[in-house]
Structures are given as structure tokens and as C-alpha cells.
């Protein structure tokens, strides 16, 4: 759906760095530089705002967003907005956007915030947010912004301001002209400028009849115009516009009723009967149809057809009574809490659906209560209240899961503690069996020996074991050479020279190899020291860590339990609120029917009185057969 992702996408991704994500087809799409940010995006793109928020908050706490700090903050604002946390979103936008150099981003963020605030009935806040938009929004949003502005003003009863705002809107695109004009017309009528308002509404009521998309708007304008004239006691002007309303459209009932009244106001009761009789065949749930039950006998009575009038009044009283009984029973069932369960159905427990701002009840179940409440159920206050109720249900489920997990956390911690205790003797034994100091001393000794060899160029010291053995033998012969033959002396000298030659030849390479071996030893020694330190500090740190983790679990437990209690209370309050407004609506409908019934009884009694008062009763006039 085109409107599905806009808030965060439009807000967060309007940042230049993240903008490319939206158009991932580009070769140089976003490079996620912090994995945690990528994880947040993964949840966000699946519209799981709660999970995305949790991950983002955790990442911020752990400092895992080194490269995406600014985007993450704006993303947080957008996610809060999507999760219905509009006040927090507002605070973040206030802070982050003030530093933003991108006015388009600023404007979009405030527009979406204004939209939510309007939906939730925070009208002054919505107006203020709209006031923070500096330039023009993109083409697809600008008309919505203008309309929203007018609506926010009208809903605060400031029709003159709304009118000024709409008139100042110089370039409404074709698709919006009708809606803007309709609003202007309604504003003018509300301001008492009926003539001016009627001219505008008349224009809307005659918009391109070839365009079926404008049908409902035309009908609505015509109905509003007709009733504006009726209210101004100008029934003749009312009729043409009411007659333009399509007979099968959603406004046809009100139009038929109005056409009847315009005739009745002109005392043409016979003409009035035609639309009213057509109307009384329609669905009695509609208030116009209910009124027709009273209007039909009224017309008959005015025409002197008292018998037909009396019959219709009796029918009306009967219909009203049954309807009142049904309404009373619906009120009772709502008071017993059945409405919400019925509305949410099995979806009440669906944990996978997206929460927050985008969710709304898309299909209203076909029950007695919901048929009476159709209009109420479509209103913002009910839908937004239902959204909160549903979010609270999710919160409750989330808290229940954590309450169970806390028990598991205890077990995990105990297991780790037991494992630690079991391993402790082994760890201690192996730690004490390793004498790192002695190893280090040995290494120092080796190094100084090598230095001594290098200083004295002791080539023999680096010889192989065989070479050293041979050298030892030659050295041992030395004192006895004086008594040896010249040939033996020459042989000794030759062998000594040969061995020394070999030792000198290999000395450099051997010295290098010894240095390298010493370096390797250093590294190994350092690694051993590091591991020794790690094991030793893990051993020493664990008790402290264990205490800290235990304290954290213990600290979280009352928070979970406390919030569970608050969430349940909030859920009950939210349910009561929804039930109350539903019951209030049904009671208003019942009160109206009761009033109609009183009117019908009163009229019926008058007819009977009239009949009884006649001394010499004349044959009753009958519309159908009197031939008048």
C-alpha cells in the first residue's frame, strides 16, 4: 500500500545518508557500517516497530551506532511516531530537526507529526506542527497538508480561519478542488453566510457528472446545500440540489427525507409522501428512514387521511419499540464487554501484526452492535482508542513473556554459578601449576646468554651438538699435542680449522635463528601470561559479576510486575472508554427513538381525540381512494 511506509521512510530516509535505501536499485545503495543499525532496519522494514525500537534503544545504550548516530536518532523519532509515541517523537524532532540543514526533511517530519496529532485529537499541537512547515511539501503531500490545516481549524470551531486558509490556497490541483470548495461551503454556512456558502456548495454539487469518483462528493455537497436551504426556511431552493443526489448512493436516504420536507414546507403533502413512502421501505437503522416513519403519517394527517395516518403511527410505534428493545439489549451486551472482543476477534491475540499508527480495523464484523455503531466505529476517537487497546494487549503479552523469562534467567544464572563452583578447584590447580615468573626469568637468562655469545662471537656455542662434541674432543687433545707426531699435529690443526670454518660459516644464520626463536618465545610467553591473567581474572571477577547479574534480575522483576499491573489497569480503562462512547452513541439513538415514539403517540392521541370529538362522523378522506 502506497501509504504504508511513509512515516519513518519519509522522515528517517529523507536524510541524505539513508536516502539511497529507499531507492535500493542504485548501485551505490546504503552501506551499513554498524551491524546493529542493519538489525534495526531489518525489523523496521518488516514493520515490526516494537522490535525495531527495542533493538535501537539497546544499540544506543551499548554504543553500537558509531557510524549512524544522526540517522539513528531521527529513525528513533520516526519509530516512536509509528508506535504511537507521538510526544516523544515530537521531542526528538524538535531536537534533531533544529540542527538539520535540510528544510524538506524538517517539513515532512512536522507534517507527519501533525497528521498523527490531528488523528488523535491533539488539535492545538497539530496546528503548531503544521505551523513549523517552512516550504511546500512534495506534490503528493501538499494538498493533504492544506486540507489537514483547514480541517484542524474547522474542528476547533474556527471556521473563519479555515476559510481564510482554504482561500489562500491558490493552486489546489484538480482532484482537490472539489474537497477544498466543499469545506469552504460548509464553513460559510456554519458562519451564517448561507447565500455565499450555498453558491460554493452548488458548484461542488454540479461538478463533472461524468466523473464517478466525484459522485459521493457531489451527493454530499447537494445534501449539505439542500439542508442549508431548509434550515434557512427556503424549501424551494432546497429541492433541486436534493434531487441531484443519486438514488442508490450513501446520501440518498437523507436526500429523500429532505425532498419530502421541502414539499411539506410548501404544504404540498401529497408530493412529500412520494419520497417518504419510498424511504420507509429502506433499512430502519438509518436515522432518515426512522424519521420517515413519523413523516409519512404526519403527511397523511395533514391531508386529512386520519385512518391511514393512525395506521402508520401505530406501525411506527411498533417499529420504534422493537428497535428500542434491540438497542437496549445491545447496550447491555456492550456493557458486559462483548464489543471489543467481537471487533478484534481472533486478531486480538495475533502477535505478528504490525502495531501502532498504521493499524486500523479494516473489516467491521456484522453484528447487531456494530450495525448500530457503524459510523462511530469509523471515527478517529474510536479507531485510535481501539489502536491503544490493541497495543496494550500486545504490551500485556510482552510482559507476560518476560515474567516467565525472569524465572529462566534465575536458572541460567544458577547453572553458571554451579559450573563455576565445580570448575573452581581445577582452575585453581592449573593456575598454581604454572609458574609464569620462573618462565620469565628463564627467558631473561636465555637472552643474556645469547647476548654474551654475540658479544664474544662464540661461534662454537651456536654449533650443533655433534659439532660441539667434536670441538670438545679437539680441545681435549690440545695439551697432549706437544708429544704427538708432526703428522698428528698437522691433522689436529687441519680438523680444527675445518670445524671452525664450518662454525663460522653457519654462525650468522644460527644467530638469526636464535633471535627468532627468542622472539617466538616472547610471544608464547605473552600469550601464556594473557591467558593466565584472563582465567585468573574471570575466576576472580565472576563472584562480582554474579552478584551484579542477580541484582539486575531482582531489579527488573518488580518493574515487570509493576508494569503488568499498570498495563492491565490501562487496558481496563481503555476498554471502558470504548464501551462508554459506544453505549453513549446507542443511548443517543435510543433517546431519539423514544422521542419519536412520544411524538407518534401524541399525534395518534390527537387523531383519536379528533375522531372522538366528531359528533357526526364524516367518511374519512383517503388519499388512495378519495379521488381528491
Amino acid at each position: 500500500m502506497a501509504a504504508r511506509l511513509p512515516i519513518v521512510a519519509a522522515v528517517a530516509f529523507a536524510l541524505p545518508a539513508v536516502d539511497a535505501v529507499a531507492a535500493r536499485g542504485d548501485d551505490d545503495g546504503i552501506v551499513v557500517q554498524d551491524l546493529a543499525y542493519g538489525e534495526v532496519l531489518f525489523e523496521f522494514f518488516q514493520e515490526d516497530y516494537f522490535a525495531a525500537l527495542t533493538r535501537l534503544l539497546a544499540a544506543q545504550q551499548r554504543g553500537e551506532l558509531e557510524h549512524h548516530g544522526a540517522e539513528a536518532e531521527l529513525m528513533l523519532g520516526g519509530l516512536y511516531l509509528s508506535y504511537g509515541e507521538h510526544r516523544l517523537a515530537g521531542e526528538i524532532f524538535e531536537r534533531v530537526l533544529a540542527q538539520s540543514v535540510d528544510p524538506a526533511l524538517n517539513d515532512r517530519a512536522w507534517y507527519f507529526l501533525a497528521k498523527i496529532w490531528h488523528q488523535r485529537g491533539y488539535l492545538p499541537e497539530a496546528e503548531a506542527a503544521l505551523g513549523r512547515i517552512i516550504g511546500e511539501l512534495p506534490e503528493e503531500l501538499e494538498p493533504e497538508r492544506q486540507m489537514l490545516h483547514a480541517q484542524v481549524l474547522m474542528e476547533q470551531g474556527r471556521f473563519a480561519d479555515a476559510l481564510t486558509a482554504l482561500e489562500a490556497w491558490r493552486r489546489p490541483s484538480d482532484a482537490w478542488v472539489g474537497y477544498a470548495k466543499y469545506n469552504i461551503g460548509v464553513s460559510l454556512v456554519r458562519l451564517g453566510q448561507v447565500e455565499a456558502g450555498a453558491r460554493v456548495l452548488d458548484e461542488v454539487g454540479q461538478l463533472d457528472p461524468e466523473n464517478p469518483d466525484l459522485g459521493a462528493l457531489r451527493d454530499k455537497a447537494n445534501v449539505a446545500l439542500g439542508y442549508a436551504w431548509l434550515q434557512a426556511s427556503r424549501p424551494v431552493e432546497a429541492k433541486p440540489s436534493l434531487q441531484r443526489v443519486r438514488l442508490n448512493g450513501p446520501f440518498s436516504n437523507k436526500a429523500l427525507l429532505g425532498v419530502g420536507w421541502s414539499d411539506a414546507e410548501g404544504a404540498d403533502y401529497r408530493a412529500a409522501l412520494a419520497p417518504w413512502l419510498a424511504l420507509r421501505e429502506r433499512n430502519l437503522l438509518d436515522s432518515a428512514v426512522q424519521e420517515s416513519l413519523l413523516a409519512v403519517p404526519y403527511a397523511y394527517a395533514q391531508l386529512g387521511a386520519d385512518k391511514q395516518a393512525a395506521d402508520h403511527y401505530v406501525d411506527a410505534i411498533e417499529a420504534f419499540s422493537s428497535e428500542i428493545v434491540r438497542l437496549t439489549s445491545s447496550i447491555e451486551s456492550i456493557e458486559q464487554g462483548e464489543l471489543i472482543t467481537e471487533l478484534l476477534g481472533e486478531r486480538e491475540d495475533a502477535g505478528t501484526e504490525a502495531s501502532g499508527w498504521y493499524w486500523r480495523l479494516e473489516r467491521i464484523p456484522d453484528s447487531v452492535e456494530s450495525r448500530y455503531l457503524y459510523e462511530l466505529l469509523a471515527t478517529n476517537r474510536f479507531q485510535e482508542g481501539l489502536k491503544n487497546y490493541r497495543d496494550l494487549k500486545q504490551v500485556n503479552r510482552n510482559l507476560s513473556r518476560w515474567a516467565e523469562s525472569l524465572g529462566a534467567f534465575d536458572d541460567i544464572l544458577d547453572t553458571r554459578q554451579r559450573a563455576y563452583e565445580q570448575r573452581l578447584p581445577t582452575i585453581d590447580a592449573s593456575l598454581s601449576s604454572v609458574d609464569l615468573d620462573a618462565m620469565a626469568a628463564r627467558r631473561v637468562e636465555l637472552e643474556s646468554r645469547l647476548q654474551a655469545i654475540e658479544r664474544s662471537e662464540d661461534v662454537v656455542a651456536l654449533g650443533t651438538a655433534k659439532e660441539q662434541e667434536l670441538w670438545g674432543m679437539l680441545e681435549a687433545m690440545e695439551p697432549h699435542l706437544a708429544g704427538a707426531s708432526a703428522e698428528q699435529q698437522e691433522k689436529h690443526r687441519f680438523l680444527r680449522g675445518l670445524l671452525l670454518w664450518d662454525l663460522r660459516r653457519d654462525y650468522k644464520a644460527r644467530l638469526w635463528a636464535e633471535h627468532k626463536a627468542l622472539g617466538d618465545l616472547d610471544r608464547q610467553l605473552r600469550e601464556a601470561q594473557r591467558r593466565h591473567h584472563q582465567v585468573s581474572s574471570s575466576r576472580d571477577d565472576w563472584p562480582e559479576k554474579f552478584t551484579a547479574l542477580t541484582a539486575r534480575i531482582e531489579g527488573l522483576r518488580p518493574r515487570v510486575l509493576g508494569l503488568q499491573e499498570s498495563a492491565q489497569l490501562a487496558l481496563n480503562r481503555q476498554q471502558e472508554f470504548l464501551q462508554d462512547i459506544a453505549v453513549e452513541e446507542l443511548k443517543a439513538q435510543r433517546d431519539r427513538l423514544n422521542t419519536y415514539m412520544v411524538q407518534a403517540r401524541f399525534a395518534l392521541a390527537s387523531i383519536y381525540d379528533r375522531a372522538g370529538a366528531r359528533v357526526d362522523p364524516q367518511p374519512q378522506a383517503s388519499l388512495s381512494g378519495s379521488g381528491e
Binding site: 542493519g38 480541517q151 454556512v189 434550515q231 479507531q383
Partner: protein
């Protein structure tokens, strides 16, 4: 007079609904989805809604903060940083590969076998990064093998493996498996990257 009285009731209803229905019929889908507050609703009811709404917001914020703290605690308990090892999956473009599933083995043991929904694969394509696996490994050398299955070029079934021998030190170890497009060969490419 009855006529006047009834007509005024009707008028009140029409006038009240007049403004209310405007946006419901606006030609743009985004507006059509949004119902409006009716002008006749009482200020008292609006105030009550607002009080409730503010309380719900406070509560949800507290629950979010609690979830953050519990998330952090859970990770610290289950995957201490000295043994923690996590494997992530990401996609870069994905023109030549439609991801169906990933099997992950570490040291020849199956540690994850994940089937992707369309929504998840789409979230990866848009730039999301999935944490496929988090677990505990001892310090030292380990081998990771990931087998990707999906639709390759020309929508043919495609199965490819990527592997990595890595050294697990004393800190947490993060490994990212990236599916990317290689324009030259018109084939997908499976890369493994170690994060510090």
C-alpha cells in the same frame, strides 16, 4: 411544530457529519484511510481520550525501556562477551539471486537453518541485516560453512556454499554473510566478512 422540529434534528445531523466525512472521500489513498473526529464530539470525551492516550504513551515508553534492559540482560546471560559469536546475513542488490534459505554449520554442526518469508527477504533487499545466529564458542580456530539456496539467474534453482576458517579471540566475534551481485559474470556472489 413537528415539521420544524424533525427538520432541525436532521439538519443537526447533516451539519455535524458535513465536515466529518470530507477526508474519508478524498481521492488520495492515504487520506481515505484516515477517519476524522466528528465535530460533534464532546470536549469532555476528547479530554478523556487525551488523558488515556497520554497514560498509554507513558506506559508504552516504560515497557520499551524495560524491553531494552531485558534484551541486554538476556544477551549478557546467554552469550557472555568472551564466548559470544554471531553470524549476520545481508544482501547487496540481489538482482541475480532470490533468497529462499540459509543453512549454517559451525565446526560441522548445524547451528541454523532458516527459511525466509517474502517479507524478510524484502527487508534484506532494502538494506536490513539479519542476525541469523548467536551462540557461544570457545577461543581458538573454528570453521563456518553457509549454504544458500534460492533462485539464481534466469529463475533457476541455485545452491551455493561459502566457508570461512576464523579465529575466535577473547572478545565477541561477528561474521557477516553478504549476498551480492557480480555484474561482470551476471552471477550472485557470496562473501564472508569478519567484523572486529
Amino acid at each position: 411544530m413537528v415539521v420544524k422540529w424533525i427538520a432541525s434534528v436532521s439538519l443537526a445531523a447533516i451539519a455535524a457529519q458535513g465536515v466529518a466525512v470530507i477526508a474519508q472521500e478524498a481521492p488520495v489513498e492515504t487520506v481515505a484511510a484516515v477517519p476524522e473526529f466528528r465535530a460533534d464530539e464532546g470536549a469532555e470525551q476528547r479530554a478523556e481520550f487525551r488523558t488515556l492516550d497520554e497514560d498509554v504513551q507513558d506506559l508504552k515508553k516504560q515497557v520499551l525501556d524495560l524491553n531494552r534492559d531485558l534484551f541486554l540482560l538476556e544477551e549478557e546471560l546467554l552469550f557472555p562477551s568472551n564466548t559470544q559469536t554471531a553470524v549476520f546475513v545481508s544482501m547487496d542488490v540481489g538482482e541475480f539471486f532470490g533468497l529462499d534459505s540459509v543453512e549454517l554449520k559451525i565446526d560441522d554442526k548445524d547451528v541454523a537453518n532458516y527459511l525466509y518469508t517474502e517479507r524478510e527477504a524484502d527487508a534484506l533487499l532494502k538494506g536490513g541485516v539479519q542476525r541469523l545466529f548467536i551462540g557461544n564458542l570457545k577461543a581458538g580456530e573454528h570453521e563456518l560453512v553457509a549454504v544458500f539456496t534460492g533462485q539464481g539467474p534466469h529463475t533457476r534453482d541455485y545452491r551455493r556454499a561459502a566457508s570461512l576458517v576464523f579465529e575466535k579471540g577473547i572478545g565477541p566475534k561477528y561474521i557477516e554473510l553478504t549476498i551480492s551481485d557480480r555484474e561482470v559474470t551476471q552471477q550472485p556472489e557470496f562473501l564472508v566478512k569478519e567484523w572486529e
